[in-house]
């Protein structure tokens, strides 16, 4: 009963306030505006449907269950030409996510290196970094993409004259072929779990002994990686080595030239932008903070790690979110160099194979929207968490 009263109370007061302020006309105008927008949207949708059906164009998403009929050059999921089209959509989404995440992680790591050069006291290092940033920030990314693809990775020697290491690793214009461990699903799972252990331990350590070396996230990540590789190497029953077969190669794992070009182009390009964001944030921290650290006898590394970075991160998150969302959308240009991302698979191949232009573009739009909004939301949550810590 009490809860009921509480729930209705604000509503009543809101009504009273509106009437008291004489905002009734304003409210009516707003209601009319919303109604007009909704009516307009309904009109567009219904007339589109009517137009489509009057022209004998099949609408709806049933086409997604048809077999794809085409193959995809790079896929993290099992996919053949017999797979249904919704599977092709999933491949497109995972490929786009893979590009976005790889680009963000590697781009940010590279940006840390660039910004440490940029802020170094050595004029040579600082000048080099400034030149790097200037070059990448003031040229279009498509140019970098085409350069890395046509001038570097696709221009490598052919499969007969390519680079061969120990008869196991091959680098040529068909891509990078490396041996791949034969490991059961359980093996991969155990390796992943073991890799996560040091990270969890360091998070626990951070609460107990914040100054301990075991609390450092960078060290725990490194340890996790080492553990992962160790488990895979020990548990692998055998390694599948790539061999020449026909005009191509068979076996092993393949990194296609398109992927290498995209990763290199996106990382170098975005690192310049992220480095500038980081520089702005770091330079925005009051010099007194550094001096206070020096007064406490901390060395330079500890000052950056413990005093400057934690504060800079808080400042840099909103612009960094923008940059990350831009990167997600930027991945759509990789269709230019034949990397099968969401845009190429769904927005080009599926669209033209099925002719379902409106549906395909609606799917592509919604997926980009969902990915970008989710990324922005996660960054927002992270920022809120940091802010709460700061206020305490």
């Amino acid at each position: 009963m009490l809860a009921h009263l509480e729930a209705t109370a604000p509503k009543a007061s809101w009504m009273r306030r509106v009437l008291a302020r004489g905002d009734l006309v304003g409210s009516l105008v707003q209601i009319a505006l919303v109604a007009a927008l909704a009516g307009g949207a309904w009109y567009i949708v219904s007339s589109t449907m009517a137009n489509l059906s009057s022209r004998g164009i099949t609408t709806g998403f049933a086409f997604l269950s048809r077999p794809a009929g085409f193959d995809v050059a790079f896929s993290l999921l099992p996919f053949t030409s017999a797979s249904p089209l919704w599977m092709a959509l999933l491949v497109g989404i995972t490929n786009t996510l893979f590009l976005a995440v790889t680009g963000m992680v590697l781009g940010t790591l590279l940006a840390f290196a660039v910004v440490s050069f940029r802020l170094s006291k050595s004029p040579l290092a600082s000048g080099l970094a400034a030149g790097y940033i200037g070059l990448f920030r003031n040229t279009p990314i498509l140019l970098h993409l085409l350069f890395w693809y046509f001038a570097v990775f696709a221009a490598m020697p052919n499969i007969r004259n390519g680079l061969v290491l120990e008869d196991a690793i091959f680098l040529n214009n068909r891509g990078l072929f490396v041996p791949w461990p034969q490991l059961s699903g359980w093996g991969w799972l155990i390796a992943c779990v073991l890799a996560l252990l040091p990270i969890a331990a360091s998070r626990w350590m951070r609460r107990q002994h914040p100054t301990s070396a075991f609390a450092r996230i960078d060290l725990s990540l490194l340890l996790g990686l080492v553990l992962f590789v160790a488990v895979v190497v020990i548990a692998a029953t055998s390694w599948e080595v790539p061999v020449r077969a026909g005009l191509g190669m068979r076996g092993g794992a393949l990194v296609i030239p398109e992927l290498m070009a995209v990763i290199v182009a996106m990382c170098t390009y975005s690192s310049a932008f992220i480095a500038e964001l980081l520089r702005g944030a770091i330079q925005g921290i009051d010099r007194g903070q550094t001096e206070a650290g020096q007064a406490l006898g901390l060395h330079a590394g500890a000052i950056s790690r413990l005093i400057v970075f934690p504060q800079a991160i808080r400042v840099v998150i909103p612009p960094l979110t923008n940059q990350y969302v831009n990167m997600i959308k930027q991945t759509a240009i990789v269709a230019a160099i034949a990397f099968p991302d969401l845009m190429l698979i769904m927005g080009k191949t599926v669209l033209t194979q099925t002719g379902q232009a409106i549906e395909s573009l609606m799917i592509v739009t919604s997926v980009y929207l969902i990915i970008s909004l989710t990324a922005a939301g996660l960054m927002h949550l992270y920022a809120a968490k940091l802010k709460a810590v700061g206020q305490r």
């Binding site: 489509l52 009057s54 004998g56 009929g69 085409f70 193959d71 085409l146 068979r250 230019a336």
Partner: protein, 342 residues
């Protein structure tokens, strides 16, 4: 290109009145005084700009023929660029009256996209272009090949089917744009470039070293290409279909752009020829056109053989063989045949 596609899709979304005009393409063309013809960007022999920037080609001439039949003047055509991904929305939304750009007729396109394929004007099929240095003599030598293609055509599905049914492995390298696909192929990124045979001949002539490449003899698919119109306007589809038949029949009857005046005036010419050229029978009116529509087609572009030779035959740069192919007249063992003018 992207903007074109989005504009076309928006066109579908907001074109309220086009549904009502489904049966009225001819009236719209006559009222406008101009035929809107969707063609590709550049495809040597079929549609490409000449030295003066004017478009010429096999598919261009077809639109000139339709304009001659409907408007009495072959020059009253506006050519609009229709890219592979934007072409169907452009037609569906009424931005063009006809697509004349070697669109391949398929079941799903004909039945579910609101399109009609009134007539096949060019028989083609996918083939494989390889570097001569590869040493491949037949498609069976291509196991493990990387295959460059351009998206937007049926190529991706045809290649997948072909390699799978021959138990050959391959890797697709699918580009958004033709120029980049060709550049990557020429750089050696792929062993094979695949498209329609006619397309490959045109592309090969544009490579920096055409003699280093060869088109393998196998044809791995059939492509039946022709003009495309909106589904539901039967009168317009009839006009387009019979424009094509006039071109084919005129070649069969020996009517050319040079002798058409004499043939029309000749009271002793075969009755079918006289009906086709509008000297008797009143056939034009049955299509909603003036009776001399057939005469005007031949007078302005010539018959099928003349159009073929001028643009893609032995007299042209592309030089696609016609003898003993499906594109020969039925009398010569080909597939081109027109119903009787009765």
């Amino acid at each position: 290109m992207r903007y074109g596609l989005f504009a076309a899709v928006v066109g579908v979304l907001v074109s309220w009145n086009c549904g009502a005009q489904a049966q009225a393409t001819l009236a719209a063309v006559k009222a406008r005084g101009e035929l809107l013809c969707g063609v590709g960007e550049n495809f040597a022999g079929f549609f490409s700009p000449d030295a003066t920037g004017k478009y010429t080609g096999f598919d261009i001439d077809f639109c000139h023929a339709v304009a001659a039949a409907t408007l009495g003047d072959a020059q009253k055509v506006k050519f609009l660029s229709a890219t592979p991904s934007a072409r169907f929305p452009q037609l569906q939304s009424g931005q063009v009256d006809i697509l004349s750009r070697e669109v391949t007729d398929t079941f799903s396109r004909d039945t579910s996209l609101g399109l009609d394929f009134p007539i096949i004007t060019f028989y083609d099929g996918h083939a494989l272009m390889v570097a001569k240095s590869l040493g491949a003599k037949t498609a069976k030598d291509l196991n493990g090949a990387n295959v460059c293609t351009q998206t937007g055509l049926s190529t991706e599905v045809i290649i997948a089917d072909y390699f799978k049914s021959n138990n050959l492995t391959y890797k697709p390298v699918v580009f958004d744009s033709r120029d980049q696909a060709l550049a990557a192929f020429e750089k050696g990124r792929c062993d094979v470039f695949s498209s329609d045979r006619s397309t490959l001949f045109a592309y090969r002539s544009a490579l920096s070293n055409p003699d280093g490449f060869t088109v393998l003899d196998e044809t791995i698919s059939k492509s039946l290409n022709g003009p495309t119109v909106r589904h539901g306007d039967n009168n317009w589809a009839d006009i387009v279909r019979w424009t094509g038949y006039v071109l084919i029949a005129a070649e069969e009857f020996g009517v050319t752009s040079t002798n058409v005046d004499a043939m029309k005036a000749d009271a002793n010419a075969p009755a079918e020829v006289r009906r086709m050229l509008g000297a008797e029978g009143g056939f034009g009116q049955m299509l909603g056109l003036s009776d001399d529509w057939g005469y005007r087609i031949i007078k302005s572009v010539g018959n099928y053989g003349e159009v073929y030779d001028r643009n893609i035959g032995s007299g042209s740069k592309v030089s696609i063989p016609r003898e003993k192919t499906l594109n020969a007249l039925w009398k010569n063992g080909g597939a081109l045949i027109a119903p009787s003018f009765q």
